[in-house]
Structures are given as C-alpha cells and as structure tokens.
Amino acid sequence: MDIRLSGVTKIFEPDIVALEDVYLSVDSGEFLYLVGMTGSGKTTLLRLISREYAPTRGQISVGDRNLRKLRQSELPYYRREVGVVFQDFKLLQNLTVFENVAFVLEAMGIPPKLVEGRANEVIDQVGLWRRRFLKPPQLSGGEQQRVAIARAMVNSPSVFLADEPTGNLDMRTSEEIMRLLLSINAAGTTVIVATHDQHLVDSYRQRLVELHNGRTKRDERRGRYFVDGEL
C-alpha cells in the first residue's frame, strides 16, 4: 500500500513541535530509510502512520484509507495491515517468544494449526528457534529485538514500519535482519525503516529521507548516511 502525508504537523502539549509541515509520498512496494538525529521526529512519524498518534494538522492516507476518517471499530483491522517494530519492542512480558508471535495471528481468529506453522517459520527466520519457549525478560536485548521483528512480520502486513530494528544488534546479525527486510520488501510490502545504523544504510543503499527538527531535510533516491551538516 502507498503512504501519503501532506502538510503533517504534530505538536505535543504544550509546545513541542515534533513534526512540522511534512510532505512524504511512499509508493506501494517501496523501501525507505528514515534517518535523523535523536529527537528529530522519526518515531513520531511512524506512530502517525500506525495511527497511534493523530496529527495536529495535515492529512495522512494509507492505501485508500484516509486516517482521519478511520472509525474506531476499523482501527484493529487497519493495524493488522501495518506491521510495526516498536523502538522499545513492546513485547508481552508474560508470554513466551512463540506466544508473543502467535498472538497476532490468534487475535485474527486463525486456527491453531495454521498459527503454529506460520509462527514457527518466522521465529526460525529471525534465528530464535532455540529460544522460542523463553520469555522476554530471559532474552538478550538483540533477541528481544528480533522477537519484535518476527511479531511485526508474522501476518504478512502490507506496510512494515521498523523503528530502529537493529539498535541492539551486532553488525552481522544486523545484516541478516536487513536481508530479511529486503526480502519482505521484495514480496511487495512497503517498508519504512527508521535507523541510526550508518553501516546498514551505506551498505544497502535505498531511498533515504532525513528529518531535522521535525522537517524533511533530504529525500534521496540512493542516499548515504550523514546527518545534519556532516561531510
């Protein structure tokens, strides 16, 4: 699905301007890096798309949905089409890795047999097969991050938003995850990755949007990572 933001501003009470007059157009099946210094508004942008936040001004549409007009009863169904890797993971602490991933499918009413097959497949893809019966507090930071990635992709959403998906991963594992994201993208899913990972951005060149103080500063076809007046 395509994503269009036009004139989006997000102001937090009383006067924190997290995003200001952002225009962004992401076509269906595109892959996009979102970079920018800490506090530049990357997470806010993703949260607006997943409709965790509502914009103060401006319009957002995803596919043929105008998010302003989305009714509350439709929200869960919309969110199932948008897979999100949260920056702070937001895993359910009382469930095992398997249960965390399976939950998304279960909540969609998919029968247990199918759930099990698909959940195990994804857990294997992120390399957590041997950890699948542990709970988040028993996992390393990188392992938790990969659970979050598995959960976001398990129901094959049309839009995939990853907020700092490699922040707790070493270079090698980051690359594996990156290849996974690219394969998801290759299957037609729109992918937006907010990241600070220079190595990744520069190794796998893709469209790159840089935010600076809540405004778009760069939008390049195959951009390189350097932020705010470097070079």
Binding site: S50, R51, E52, Y53, A54, Q72, L75, P76, Y77, Y78, R79, R80, V84, F86, K90, L91, L92, Q93, N94, F103, V104, E106, A107, M108, G109, I110, P111, P112, R151
Partner: protein, 294 residues
C-alpha cells in the same frame, strides 16, 4: 470458533500465571459474598419470625348474649386487612371449654342451658391492623367484648418489625458494599495489566478479543468466590440451626432446604454476574484508552 478457544485458553493463562492475584481476588470476593449471604440469611429469618409472630395474633370478639355474630362477621369480612375469620358457635365454644377442663369436664354439664355467646376468631394481616379493627368492633351494639393477645405480643411484633427493617437496610448496604469491593478489587487487579492491554490494542487485537479472557476470569473468580462463600455459609448456618434447636427451641429459624438451596443458587449467580460485569467495565476502560489516538 478458534477465537473462542483462544479466549478460554487465555483465561486459564490469566488465572494460573497471576495466581497470586487470582487467589487474592477470589478470597476477597468470597469474603464479601459471605457477609452478604450472612446478612441475607439474617434478614430472611427476621421476616420469617415476624410472619410467625403475626400469624399468632388473633383477635377474639364475643357477642352479647342472645345476639348472633352476623353483624360483626359482615364488618370483619368487608375489611381488607383481615386474613381469616372463623365463627365460633356457642356449642363449639362449649366443646372447647369441655376439652380444656379435662377431667373436670363434668362441671360443664351442670351448667344447664349453654351460657356461652357466639364469638369470632379473627386473624389480621399485620400487627398495626389490630387497633382499628378492635375499635370498629367495639362500636357494634351486638359485640359484648373484644379480646386480643395484648401489649406483650404487640411489643414483640414491633421489635421484630424494627429488626426486620434494620436487617433490610443492612442487607442493602451490604449488597452495595459487596459490589463495590468486588468491582474495586477486579479493577485494581486489571490496573496492573494496563500496559499489556494497550500493547494488544496496538498490534491489532479487537477490544472484544482482549476483553473476553478477562471477562471469563471475572466470572470464574466471582463464581468461585460465591462457591467458597456458600460453603462457609452452609457450615455456619447448619451449626446455627443446631445451636438454636438445642438451646432456643422456642425461636423460629428457617430450615427449609429448598428455600436455602434457591438462595444459594441465587448467590452463586450474583457472584458470577458481578464478576464478569465488573471485569468487563474495568478492562473496557483500558482497551478504549488504547484505541484512542493521541
């Protein structure tokens, strides 16, 4: 329905993974339902005793010699407050007297012509109906004398009525408080899971799907609490009945097993219903918070 099966499984998860919380909630529900049951049984027994005492209140109206009871009977029958009325003929009265006298019954035969008047035995619905009735009867020319059980029984009846009123108020209060305590407990318990609920909403679970396990849990805890309360009440009440029988034989206490059974079933239902409703309200708050976009 896969969703329903998941909900049942998640209910078991909730109960077992947070068994400390579950046990505390269960115990709380059991406690307040026990108090509620206790108050109810008390009130029921109060009502029962009153009806027994009131049933024993009989007004006797004696006619003047030579008069029949027709006039008085008519008056009595027209009153809506009278539960029952019986006409006692002089012959019947004589029979009764004879029976009372026992081995001195021969004395009655010495009386010659039956000197006893016609009379009425009247049962009223409630204590407070006695005084007006007596007044009305006294006015009739055919009535010689009106007797009734007197101040003592009246006074006892007043006490009982007062106690019944008090126990009714207590019952209402207890009901209110029980619901409040159960609601608060469940609400506080669900409060500790609010982040979790909000995350579920974030990843696309519907409020209904999220609520269902909590609602089931509430129902189970409410019903379980009620069951514990019923067990406690049963043993308390049995020993109370036992104690009353052996030491206070003259006090009336309800021993009707069917009535008690119905009451316990009602209590069980009330526990379960309160449980799921409170859960539902409590969890709804957090799901709808998760649904709002800020």
């Amino acid at each position: 329905m896969a969703s329903f099966r998941y909900a049942l499984r998640d209910t078991m998860r909730l109960l077992s993974r947070h068994w400390g919380l579950s046990a505390l909630t269960l115990l709380t529900a059991a406690s307040v339902l026990y108090i509620l049951g206790f108050a109810s049984l008390f009130a029921m027994n109060m009502r029962y005793m009153i009806s027994r005492i009131e049933g024993a209140l009989v007004v006797q109206a004696y006619m003047k010699r030579g008069e029949t009871a027709d006039q008085a009977l008519e008056l009595t029958r027209s009153s809506p407050n009278v539960a029952s009325v019986r006409v006692i003929s002089p012959d019947e009265a004589l029979e009764r007297l004879r029976a009372k006298l026992g081995n001195q019954a021969r004395a009655v035969t010495l009386l010659g012509e039956n000197p006893l008047p016609w009379s009425l035995e009247i049962q009223v619905q409630k204590v407070e109906h006695i005084t007006p009735l007596v007044r009305d009867l006294m006015v009739l020319p055919s009535v010689e004398e009106v007797l009734y059980s007197g101040k003592l029984v009246e006074r006892l009846a007043v006490i009982s009525r007062a106690s019944a009123a008090v126990s009714g108020v207590v019952l209402l209060l207890t009901l209110l408080i029980s619901t409040l305590v159960i609601y608060n407990t469940i609400r506080i318990a669900i409060y500790s899971r609010k982040e979790e609920i909000e995350v579920m909403v974030l990843i696309g679970a519907t409020p209904t799907y999220i609520s269902l396990p909590f609602v089931f849990q509430g129902m189970i805890l409410g019903a379980g609490g009620a069951l514990l309360a019923i067990l406690g009440l049963w043993s308390t009440y049995s020993s109370a009945v036992e104690a009353v029988r052996s030491t206070l034989a003259f006090v009336d206490i309800i021993v009707d097993r069917r009535l008690l059974g119905q009451f316990f079933i009602f209590l069980f239902g009330a526990g379960a219903t309160t449980g799921w409703m409170c859960s539902w309200i409590a969890v709804h708050r957090f799901t709808s918070r998760g649904m709002r976009s800020r």
